[in-house]
Symmetry: C2
Subunit: 332 residues, 2 copies
Amino acid sequence: MDLHILEHRLKVTSIAKQGLFVFTHPLIKLIFLRSRTRCKFLSLTETPEDFTLVLDEEGFKELPCSEYLQVEDSMWLALNVVSNGHASSSSQAVGVTKIAKSVIAPLAEQHVSVFMLSTYQTDFILVREKDLSVVIDTLQEEFNIYREVGGECVPVPSQDVHNGFQKNGKEATKATVHPVLSPLNKFCVMSLDPDTLPTIATTLIDVLFYSSSCKDASHSSQDLDCVKFFSFSLIDGYISLVMDTEAQRQFPADLLFTSSSGELWRMVRIGGQPLGFDECGIVAQISQPLANSDISAYYISTFSFDHALVPEEDIDSVIDMLQEQRQMKLEV
Amino acid sequence: MDLHILEHRLKVTSIAKQGLFVFTHPLIKLIFLRSRTRCKFLSLTETPEDFTLVLDEEGFKELPCSEYLQVEDSMWLALNVVSNGHASSSSQAVGVTKIAKSVIAPLAEQHVSVFMLSTYQTDFILVREKDLSVVIDTLQEEFNIYREVGGECVPVPSQDVHNGFQKNGKEATKATVHPVLSPLNKFCVMSLDPDTLPTIATTLIDVLFYSSSCKDASHSSQDLDCVKFFSFSLIDGYISLVMDTEAQRQFPADLLFTSSSGELWRMVRIGGQPLGFDECGIVAQISQPLANSDISAYYISTFSFDHALVPEEDIDSVIDMLQEQRQMKLEV
């Protein structure tokens, strides 16, 4: 298996809901007017708390300074696992499940924080640029590692593990077990031909920029029957959309497409309190049991919380697994 | 002929070019998301100086406070001349020319300021609400006057001209003769089925919100070979667009339509210095000679300047006429 370290240098930011209007101008440019921007990596996710915006340096330059914008200090890099033509994994599962044991677990063991961004097309594992050397050390046994430089893939020479293993320097702490919630709405993970994006522009603009109200936000955070969650990403020319079936009904049925199985997904929302960016192992806690049971999962981190999407028929067993795991940890 | 006083209560505002991003959010809502707003009258015109935005109270409420927004103090009402089925005028000309003698000249004589807004469909004559009684006095001989109330047309009873004519109370001042300029670009006046507006959304958004740069502005104001001028209006469900042929090329040719003659228009831009809102008779100065020669004209006022559009084949004779008039006034 190959691991690519992508060229994008990414900022992870949060836009306060009441300040979105300040960012409508740059966001519409970044989403719809590709000829006017050099941004190649954009992900915008609405949750009840905020809009989490992950974008490359070119895109970040477009944002105005504003009291409504929070920016995580670090520069992040995106990693991407590429199966060499034939999938070597015996798993039929897709998403973060496929990389749970080979990437997520080893990085968690080395106390590397990851920010996950699953899309229709692939799964991006975001790590801090300053952690890159530990990441390469950790993953070079399992993967051929390439770094994208000027659009070319350059093999990363294997590092000698000099003076013993080069640890991250962080203390190993017992991972906190976070509460999980499972809202009742069902989600679909879809894509769209970028050439047809103008056709759904007004609908997408409506959903992204005009559908949330303060009422929604307070409602959703207190009552988790259904949760507001909408994610749009445009990365290297590929579009991915995650929305619930209610939002989906607003779009023309013939333009958005999903995998042939057309399955629906239920959400596991991780964290009772905002998770922050420093704790390690949160993705691993969720993805390990899924991998053990070979259950597919998309995984989308946002500024405050993490979100796993699992097939709707598996949601009960997943919740049981996670409750059991939580019980075991609490008892230890 | 009937004169309708429309129900819209209008504000005339100016958005500074560098502050447009603050207004992208409400403007996109007002233009594209009609189900989300009760605004029924919106006109947005870009000139080298600014964006002039005329909109009703419902629309005005959507605008955020901002240092980039100037608002003219008055409340304005829109008047509209309705031919009773068969055109009673012998003139074949369209636009402001048709109403030059019956509306524009009499109002100028009574020192009523007017703000003109020609669209593809009709010509709106905006007057200050406080001048309404003078307007009715002045025009009641020529017109059956109706006022729209709750969507119904109610005849306005003829006013007794008690104690002699109720003058506007302003001193009659000799009208200033303003310099006129004629940029070289050619314009078209077009419309669009509102149902197809989503189809051109990204193009229209691009042209309206992302096509001007500071370079454009300084360039255009110094060098009037070509002038930036783009006007979009959505009034009572009707769309009107005025753009030059360069902007037109960005839109799909099959959606925008114009009159069957498909003629192009040249611009006469009135004013060397910003005109302000208090001077009267500017529209009359331009429209009277056009009416005498039966030359069609659209007329669009903006926050700083006035703009007449005349058929391209008539531009030379119009400029000659206006220069001659200017010469005569200067000599008096």
